[in-house]
Each structure stands twice: as structure tokens, then as C-alpha cells.
């Protein structure tokens, strides 16, 4: 078969044109041990992070390690992801590493670290497409939220009950099928009728802005990466209407 090397009229490799130059994480601490921990997190190396944390715990306060090593390291990863340098798996692996480090610190502390806030995530009833939800979970975890993961194919009532039980600051739903997304307005209506006006961020291939903003409480989530930022807005006092007008429309 003949292969043409001049492909200019056929396609353009926009990925090559926009590839950002590789950058590494910034220096986050002048303390050698803390910087090492951040580097391990940024490398997404769970084992090495654990080692580094264990070592540091011999001399340092667990809270210092968390707030000046593990979390800043993770923040750097998030920044590089936002800038298009890193890909998703790096975020996930770094998050896994950070979580492992935090776990060790918590053991030392004797009590769990206070999380930023509780968030319930789920994939709609009848739907097992959960990759989107997994990403959301990982990113929220990485950002310091407590994620209550209800999993896939979750009946409407289970979602509503979980909300009543846990009183999360935010609920998320993922639906990849047009036949499953109809659960979202039903959940929203039930919550609303109980006067539980919690922001309900819905995403996944099947839903779109129009659908989600068509019912009260609904905010459309285009990219998983928006979830932590939305949750951040809620911590700063945003109601669902405010979230919607900021993120949608």
C-alpha cells in the first residue's frame, strides 16, 4: 500500500501544536524532608511517600507533614494538571500517594484529619458507566473532601436517604445513558420536597446543561475537574442558584 508522508491537507496534529513544555513541580519547602515528601507525592509513588512520611514522622508533627508536605505536593500536581502538563493518572496516583501519607499521619495523631466537607457521589440507577464518577471521587479526595461513594446503579431512594443521613455539602450524579438520567430530576424533587436544598451536580455523557438546569438544585458538570472547585465555592457559602449561574449558562 502507498503511504503519503505529506498529510497536511488530511489532518492537523493539534496535539503537537499545543503540547506544553514539560515543567516540574515548584519548590514548596526549604525543609529537605518536606520537599522530599512533596516530590514523592508528585511522582505518584505510594510506597516512597509512605517511607518518606514514616521517616519524617520520627521528628516532625503529623499536621506539619500533612499541611506543609503532602497537601502542597498534591496542589502542585493539580496545578500542573490544570496547565495541561500532567494527565489524569498522575493526579490519581499522586492522590493515592497523598492519601497513604495522610493515613500514616492520622495513625500517629490518633484521630482522623478533619476533612473539608462531606460529598456524596453516585452513578444513576440502571447505569454502570462509572469511570466518570471514579474520576470525580479521586479528584475530590485529592482536594481534601470526604467522599461517600454510593457506587453505580443506585436507586433513587438510596441516594435520598444517604443525603438525609450524611447531610453532605454537595451531591453528585453521573449518567451516561439517556434512559438513566431521568433519575436526577426525581432525586432533586424529593430533596426539594424535604426542603433539603443541597447543590446537586450532575455530569456524564448523557446529560447536558439544558437537561440539568431544567430542574431545581441541578448544576451541570462538564468536566470532572470542576467538582472540587464547585465544592470549594460551596464552602465559601454559594447556594445552588449561585453555583448554577457561575458554572452554567
Amino acid at each position: 500500500m502507498k503511504y503519503s508522508t505529506d498529510t497536511s491537507g488530511i489532518f492537523t496534529r493539534f496535539d503537537m501544536e499545543i503540547e506544553v513544555t514539560r515543567r516540574s513541580i515548584r519548590r514548596i519547602s526549604s525543609d529537605f524532608a518536606l520537599q522530599a515528601i512533596a516530590d514523592c507525592v508528585a511522582d505518584g509513588d505510594e510506597e516512597k511517600t509512605e517511607e518518606a512520611v514514616k521517616e519524617a514522622l520520627e521528628q516532625k508533627d503529623p499536621l506539619e507533614i500533612i499541611h506543609e508536605g503532602l497537601i502542597p505536593g498534591m496542589n502542585e500536581v493539580s496545578r500542573l494538571w490544570d496547565e495541561g502538563v500532567y494527565f489524569l493518572p498522575q493526579v490519581i496516583l499522586s492522590s493515592d500517594a497523598m492519601m497513604a501519607g495522610i493515613k500514616l499521619c492520622e495513625q500517629k495523631l490518633g484521630k482522623p484529619l478533619k476533612k473539608k466537607g462531606k460529598i456524596i457521589t453516585h452513578t444513576a440507577e440502571g447505569d454502570i458507566h462509572d469511570i466518570g464518577q471514579s474520576i470525580v471521587n479521586a479528584l475530590l479526595n485529592a482536594d481534601g473532601f470526604e467522599v461517600i461513594n454510593l457506587g453505580t446503579d443506585v436507586p433513587i431512594d438510596v441516594v435520598v436517604e444517604a443525603c438525609l443521613a450524611h447531610k453532605p455539602i454537595m451531591l453528585t450524579g453521573t449518567a451516561l445513558m439517556t434512559t438513566t438520567m431521568s433519575a436526577f430530576p426525581k432525586i432533586a424533587a424529593k430533596l426539594k420536597s424535604m426542603n433539603f436544598n443541597i447543590p446537586f451536580v450532575c455530569g456524564g455523557g448523557a446529560v447536558n446543561e439544558e437537561f440539568v438546569t431544567g430542574f431545581d438544585l441541578g448544576i451541570w458538570g462538564k468536566e470532572a475537574s470542576q467538582a472540587p472547585a464547585m465544592a470549594g465555592d460551596i464552602l465559601e457559602g454559594a447556594h445552588w442558584q449561585e453555583l448554577r449561574s457561575k458554572w452554567n449558562g
Binding site: 502507498k2 503519503s4 505529506d6 489532518f11 492537523t12 493539534f14 499545543i18 447536558n208
Partner: protein, 456 residues
């Protein structure tokens, strides 16, 4: 206006997709007909979005963005976005203008951010209804011209699907009346186009914008659509084919007035126009199934320069919104053709497109490059009047249809064709005599106003 008297292409064998003898370059540097086929995506706003300028702008913003983004996503190098005005946009010329400015900005942003090459075609709605207003002197006419002025400012290309002759055409097409069809296309359509396109070209020249072209949509596509597929029983396909050949002589007028192409997508007569003018043409076929079915899905791509979906209403599909989905499809269609160019296999590829539909039906047959070229030749060889060349196109079309035994025609359609030929043969030789005859025959047709065409 001088009627064309020679062919730009000396032979149909030279006609090829992606390349025109006279390519055009847009304000932003996109070359059309310069070697590659470029997709032309046409999104259509959802019902309700036309309520206010704001909602309509938002609708087009999304639709155009989705198409541009999808090109970057899958690597399509270039795209033309066409927005066909809905009546509100031409009735309020500022609406059309605002949307044009917005789109030009979007295109610029994608160029800066990703290096995507794009262009914008604004197609003004012909809101001059021949049965109601004087085509040359009415509020609607003023709005149409104002819209051209305002859109030409930021658009790369301007076009219209003009309506002249529609009142007589509609009356005739459902009456099997080839005389009325000829009158409506050649005389009425031709005169209206000359009047209108002189003005459009003037505007385009002043605004450094490209005057694209017209289409015989209002007549030939109505006929093609009514002839339908293999089940419909509205009108014979042979009549639709004759209408198309006659319509080519009409659409050509835009270029004789100075339009440079790219011709407008739904002009299925464009292969004939390309043969005559050498200008780039937009075409649509299989990937405009979202807009209407046809029997020439592949063959119509054989000599296209832009490749369009005609129109798709904004809507979410699993794979994204419709403008994104169809931009992707059109772009891949174009990529296969452009690969053929890169490999030097364009003749073989073209033959595959042509053979897909050459014998599927009369339309595909007469629009095959060879036959299209021959109809073009009949047109330029009879350049003494619009009437003469249009009738010649019809005769050539009929001759071709009857001349190739591989083209099967149902008994009824063949019989009809022979009937049209008899009528055509009985018509006078001179344009003036023909006009006299038609003025008598159609004077009482509802809404027919001779002075719209400078007649009487």
C-alpha cells in the same frame, strides 16, 4: 450581463474534487478550491431560540463553537461555517450582523489558540416573497440588501437562495408543466438574479468579502424532493432532472454578475456550474441526509470543493451535539478525498463516488462529471439568450437520459420525459416569443407580478 460562452474546463476529465481552476482566498487566508476539500458545517437553531437576539446569539455561539472544537479534537485542518439566516435574522439586519461578528470572533480565537483555519459564510434569507411583494421594490427587498451590507462587514462569504420565479414554478411543478418550469427558471429566475446579484457583488466588492453564489433550491430542490426516492409518486424523476438542468442556467447568473464562488451547498447543479466557470463549489450529499434524502449521495461529491451537511438542527447526540457530530463526519469524508489527492488516486476515488450513483437515478446520472460537463457545454453554446441556453440544457439533459441504456427509467417516467420533450420542441425559437406566450398563459396565476421581473 454577458452570458457565458465558453467552458472553463476543456474536458470533464480535468474536473476533480478539491481543486478549482479559479480558487478563492478568504479574508483569513483560507483557500477554497486550492487542492483540498474542506468541510462546510451548517447548524440550525432550535425552535424557541429565535425569540430574542440574545437567545439566538447564544444558540449560534454554542453550535459554531461545538463544530470548531470538534475539528480540533479530531484534527480536521480547516472548516467553513455557514449560518443560513432564519427570517428573523434578515428581518432584523442587526441580528444577522451581530451573529456574524460573534462568529468571526470565535473563528479568530480558534485560530490563535490552536491554529485552526476557518471561514464564515452568511446566507441571507430571501424574504422577498414573489407572490406578495415586488421583488425589486419592497420593504423586504430593502432588508435583504441591508443584511448583505451588514453581514459582508465581518463574514468571509455571502450567499442567498433567491426566490425569483417561485410563484410560477410552484404552479407548474404540480401540473407537469415544463413550459411553466422553463419560464420560471430561465426568464423569471434569471432576471431576478441579474437584478439581485449585481447588487450583491457590488456590496461584496466594497466590503472585501467574497460573493459566493446562489442555488436553484427554490425550484430544482423542490422538484428533486418531490420526485423523492423509489417509493414516492409525486412527480417523475425525469422531470426533476430536467428542472435541474434548466436551473443550472439560472444559478449561473450569479457568477456572470461577478460572484466568484464557492457556490452554495444545496445547488445540486453546481457540477455544471463548476464545469462552466472553473470556480469552487460547495456540495452536499450523503452527509446531508440529516437535512433530506437524495439519490446522489456520493456522485455529487465528485467535483466538490466544500462538502456540506446542508443543515442540522442543534441537538444532543451520544457523540456530542449535532454540529460537532456532523463536522466530524464531513471532515472525515473530506479527509478520505484529500488522501486520494495526496496519493495520486483521485481519479480512482472519484470513479468510486460516481459509480455509486450514476445509475441510481436520473439526478445522479446527469450530475456525473461527464454529463454535467455536457449540459454545461450545451448552455455555453447557446449563449444568445437565457431562454435559448436553458432550453438547450433541457434538451441535452433529455438526450443524455435517453442515450445510456445502463440508466434504467421506469415506463411511466420515460413516457413522461418523451411528453416533456414534445412540449419543449413545440416552443418558439425566440425568447421574446416565448415570453409573450408565457405572459398569456400564466397571467392569472395567483401572485404573479410581471414588473418584479421588469416585464411589460
Amino acid at each position: 450581463m454577458k452570458l457565458s460562452d465558453k467552458m472553463a474546463y476543456e474536458s470533464y476529465a480535468d474536473m476533480m474534487f478539491g481543486t478549482a481552476i479559479k480558487p478563492v482566498t478568504t479574508k483569513h487566508g483560507l483557500v477554497i478550491g486550492g487542492g483540498f476539500v474542506i468541510p462546510e458545517i451548517v447548524p440550525h437553531p432550535r425552535p424557541g431560540s429565535e425569540k430574542t437576539l440574545k437567545t439566538l446569539m447564544r444558540e449560534f455561539e454554542r453550535a459554531n463553537f461545538d463544530a470548531l472544537e470538534r475539528c480540533v479534537l479530531v484534527g480536521h485542518p480547516a472548516i467553513v461555517i455557514e449560518n443560513e439566516h432564519i427570517s428573523q435574522m434578515t428581518n432584523n439586519p442587526d441580528w444577522g450582523m451581530e451573529i456574524t461578528i460573534q462568529t468571526a470572533k470565535q473563528i479568530e480565537e480558534f485560530k490563535i489558540k490552536y491554529g485552526l483555519k476557518a471561514a464564515y459564510r452568511a446566507t441571507i434569507a430571501d424574504i422577498r416573497r414573489p407572490d406578495r411583494v415586488n421583488l425589486r421594490d419592497s420593504e423586504a427587498t430593502a432588508k435583504v440588501l441591508e443584511s448583505f451590507e451588514k453581514c459582508a462587514e465581518a463574514a468571509d462569504i455571502i450567499s442567498i437562495e433567491s426566490l425569483g420565479g417561485k410563484e410560477i414554478f410552484d404552479y407548474s411543478i404540480i401540473r407537469n408543466d415544463i413550459t411553466g418550469i422553463l419560464f420560471s427558471e430561465a426568464i423569471l429566475g434569471g432576471r431576478d438574479m441579474e437584478w439581485l446579484w449585481t447588487r450583491i457583488v457590488d456590496i461584496a466588492e466594497r466590503k472585501k468579502c467574497i460573493a459566493g453564489g446562489d442555488t436553484d433550491c427554490a425550484r430544482s430542490n423542490t422538484a428533486m424532493f418531490m420526485a423523492g426516492g423509489f417509493i414516492s409518486k409525486d412527480i417523475p424523476h425525469t422531470l426533476a432532472a430536467l428542472t435541474r438542468a434548466i436551473g443550472a442556467a439560472r444559478t449561473l447568473v450569479a457568477h456572470e454578475c461577478g460572484a466568484t464562488g464557492p457556490g452554495k451547498d444545496c445547488g445540486y447543479e453546481n457540477p455544471i456550474l463548476k464545469a462552466i466557470t472553473g470556480m469552487p463549489m460547495s456540495m452536499e450529499g450523503k452527509s446531508s441526509a440529516c437535512a433530506h434524502p437524495d439519490l446522489c449521495g456520493n456522485v455529487i461529491a465528485a467535483v466538490c470543493d466544500l462538502w456540506s451537511n446542508e443543515a442540522v438542527a442543534y441537538h444532543n447526540m451520544f457523540g456530542g451535539t449535532t454540529p460537532a457530530v456532523f463536522a466530524e463526519i464531513l471532515g472525515y469524508d473530506a479527509a478520505a478525498m484529500n488522501s486520494a489527492v495526496a496519493l495520486g488516486f483521485q481519479k480512482e476515488f472519484q470513479a468510486c463516488l460516481v459509480n455509486s450513483d450514476r445509475y441510481r437515478g436520473p439526478h445522479g446520472f446527469i450530475l456525473s462529471p461527464d454529463n454535467a460537463w455536457h449540459i454545461g457545454k450545451a448552455i455555453v453554446e447557446n449563449s444568445r439568450s437565457m431562454y435559448a441556453r436553458s432550453k438547450a440544457a433541457a434538451f441535452k439533459c433529455a438526450e443524455l437520459l435517453l442515450g445510456d441504456p445502463n440508466l434504467r427509467i421506469t415506463g411511466y417516467e420515460k413516457e413522461s420525459l418523451l411528453g416533456y420533450l414534445k412540449v419543449l420542441e413545440s416552443l418558439p425559437d425566440e425568447e421574446n416569443d416565448f415570453i409573450d406566450l408565457c405572459m398569456r398563459k400564466y397571467k392569472n396565476v395567483n401572485g404573479f407580478k410581471p414588473d418584479s421581473y421588469g416585464l411589460q
